[in-house]
């Protein structure tokens, strides 16, 4: 039997973990939202000035550059993750691309919702705040016509380990929902809990699903 004299690191060079990529993406997203928000606020303020001082444009340029820098950091991180964890098999590539597309659309929908809220004087509640009917209908159409087919495509291309992780997460999330919903409902009927909030239960169920999936798949 041929025995390799390569070390573990030579055979499997250390690669960026998905958790590290997720942290980098989260940081880049927060930075992009913060700096772009600051830039938009400054543009709005500068628009009201009769004569804008050069320093105002310099600060705005810095905020725009920082926003672009956050996007660049996200792009470089994603490229590094792909390079260190690849090459991907055709099936894994299709599954990854469809997951990235669905996540990107979800992110755009979230940003769209936060900008389209109907109550400009109040901090917008992304989960339950009012939306213009047209925006709500468009978001529903995106879910039905885009997210659903992309999700179906993703399911057709994941491998069996991903599928098992996803199913385990779904099962535990269902048990969580089956317990949390009646407990909250009974607590409300008993007078010691507020009325059950469907959106909160939904988001908590999705969170449980995601955490279990992540643990099964990546830890």
């Amino acid at each position: 039997m041929m025995v390799s004299n390569m070390t573990d690191d030579q055979i499997d060079p250390p690669a960026m973990s998905l958790g590290k990529l997720a942290m980098r993406m989260f940081g880049a997203t927060v930075a992009a939202v913060f700096f772009s928000g600051a830039a938009v606020g400054l543009i709005d303020a500068l628009g009201r000035e009769e004569q804008v001082k050069p320093i105002g444009w310099v600060i705005m340029g810095v905020f725009v550059a920082l926003t672009l820098g956050a996007f660049w950091f996200a792009w470089v991180s994603a490229r590094r993750y792909y390079r260190e964890n690849g090459p991907l098999s055709p099936r894994a590539r299709r599954a990854t691309i469809s997951a990235v597309v669905a996540s990107g659309i979800g992110l755009v929908m979230g940003v769209w919702m936060s900008f389209a809220g109907d109550a400009p004087d109040q901090p917008f509640d992304v989960a339950a705040g009012p939306l213009p009917a047209g925006v709500a209908a468009a978001l529903i159409a995106v879910i039905v016509l885009v997210i659903a087919p992309v999700t179906w495509f993703w399911h057709r291309n994941i491998d069996e380990h991903e599928e098992q992780s996803y199913r385990t997460g779904a099962l535990i999330a269902l048990y969580f929902y089956s317990a949390a919903a009646p407990i909250w409902w009974l607590g409300n009927r008993g007078g010691f809990l507020p009325a059950a909030d469907g959106m909160t239960i939904y988001l908590a169920t999705m969170a449980v699903w995601g955490v279990v999936w992540f643990r099964q798949r990546h830890l």
Partner: protein
């Protein structure tokens, strides 16, 4: 279930990504099988056995002892 996947892979100097590419699964799936966190389905076990030109029981060990 114990298996010799990591050893067989190392003998051929394949990374997890290389093996994943040959089996058309993700690297995470290969890692999960190697570490015993995921038992492959029968079709995937056959694909692995064919790739290494071994029988399934020469790669995977369920701990059963014959009398």
């Amino acid at each position: 279930m114990n298996n010799r996947l990591r050893v067989l892979r190392a003998e051929r100097q394949w990374s997890q990504a290389d093996l994943a590419l040959k089996l058309d699964v993700s690297r995470q799936a290969v890692n999960a099988i190697e570490t015993g966190k995921h038992d492959p389905s029968l079709p995937l076990a056959f694909r692995i056995a064919r790739l290494f030109q071994l029988r399934i029981e020469e790669i995977f060990d369920d701990g059963f002892q014959h009398d």
